[in-house]
């Protein structure tokens, strides 16, 4: 089955992973900007990172027939440095016209602090002014519930934000309902220990249905599994769910969501090679 991985950090993965993902049916992916594992020291570091996301990675992906898209921001983990965050936010528009940029992301909260909230609001303002789609990171573990509710408060508080153009990621059992009820899209991240397993993601689909829900691997430099979306596909098949339902979650839904971005130019695998 062809599928999208709507959230994966390929700058942290090897070219072998592109090959494996392509063999498993991955035809497109979107890569949000995130934390490098250390705090970057200057806006120039981010400019180079954004060049990597908008130039190098799409070419590397294309070698395996995978279409690569990206989102730009400064991650919440670095938002305690408010002055650097503002420099980065001011620089982002240089890259918004690049052909693989879908919007602003993954913005969000980490430890739910005042500075993180302030930088999040400034990212929202940027997205609204440039009419960009938004991809949201919600916090980990004990901070997730509180942080997700704070994020929703800020999104709902800005009347310029179109909820159907926002994907709230890393939802789990205690956050998915509110995100969907408020009209946003929701992503489930299939992480080995700290987020959602393929089994629990399938449970959430069985509970809430497939509308506005996606699954992703969020594969990065830490413990993660870039082939987690095929694990989810297998779990759904083992439960006897129809191919049409599975395809909706791993292919049709990402396609519908991403198609709202002006930069999204996707060629379906069936149409490749046709002029």
């Amino acid at each position: 089955m062809y599928y999208f991985d709507p959230h994966i950090h390929m700058v942290s993965r090897t070219t072998d992973d592109y090959e494996t993902l392509a063999k498993m049916g991955c035809v497109a992916m979107s890569e949000p900007a995130f934390w490098a594992g250390f705090d970057r020291g200057s806006v120039e570091s981010f400019r180079d990172y954004f060049r990597q996301l908008t130039d190098f990675e799409p070419r590397r992906a294309a070698q395996y027939g995978v279409q690569h898209y990206t989102w730009l921001c400064i991650n919440a983990k670095e938002a305690e440095n408010v002055s650097l965050s503002r420099e980065v936010i001011a620089m982002i528009p240089e890259f918004l016209d690049k052909p693989n940029v879908l919007g602003i992301g993954e913005i969000g909260l980490n430890k739910n602090t005042r500075n993180e909230s302030r930088v999040f609001l400034e990212h929202l303002d940027l997205a609204a002014r440039f009419r960009q789609q938004i991809l949201i990171h919600t916090p980990h573990l004990e901070d997730k519930y509180q942080g997700t509710r704070m994020i929703l408060d800020m999104l709902i508080g800005d009347s310029r934000i179109e909820r159907s153009r926002v994907l709230v990621d890393h939802v789990e059992e205690h956050t998915v309902r509110t995100v969907l009820e408020e009209g946003f899209w929701a992503g489930m991240t299939l992480y080995p220990v700290t987020k959602c397993t393929p089994q629990r993601a399938a449970d959430i689909i069985e509970t809430y249905g497939p509308e506005r829900l996606m699954v992703n691997s969020a594969g990065d430099w830490g413990p993660s599994k870039p082939t987690a979306v095929p694990d989810f596909i297998l779990e759904m098949r083992r439960r006897g769910h129809p191919e049409s339902l599975i395809r909706k979650i791993v292919y049709d839904n990402p396609l519908e969501f991403f198609s709202q971005s002006a930069s999204f130019r996707f060629t379906a695998p069936e149409l490749r090679g046709h002029s």
Binding site: N112, Y145, Q146, G240
Partner: protein, 88 residues
């Protein structure tokens, strides 16, 4: 509408996995008990106890309720506390 499987079908498929997870918990609890020093007052341990109580009740939505046990509370007035609307 998503098809829901028969409970017995689910139990047949998942019994060994459930058994395995219960055993892992039992062994972890034994490991803790063998360790030196106490841990009964640790708030994390109290939450583990609350979570296990949820598994045994019949009120449904167990995964959501267990998640909430391990979550920091949300206060709707957080924006006022952060004074986000005031200039820096």
């Amino acid at each position: 509408m998503i098809r829901q499987r028969a409970a017995m079908e689910i139990l047949n498929r998942e019994f060994l996995e459930i058994r395995c997870k219960v055993l892992e918990l039992a062994a972890a609890f034994d490991r803790l008990e063998r360790g030196s020093g106490g841990f009964d007052d640790d708030p994390r341990w109290r939450k583990v106890g609350e979570a296990i109580d949820v598994l045994r009740d019949d009120r449904g939505d167990r995964a959501e309720r267990v998640q909430l046990i391990f979550s920091r509370p949300y206060a709707p007035q957080w924006r006022d506390e952060f004074a986000l609307d005031r200039p820096e």
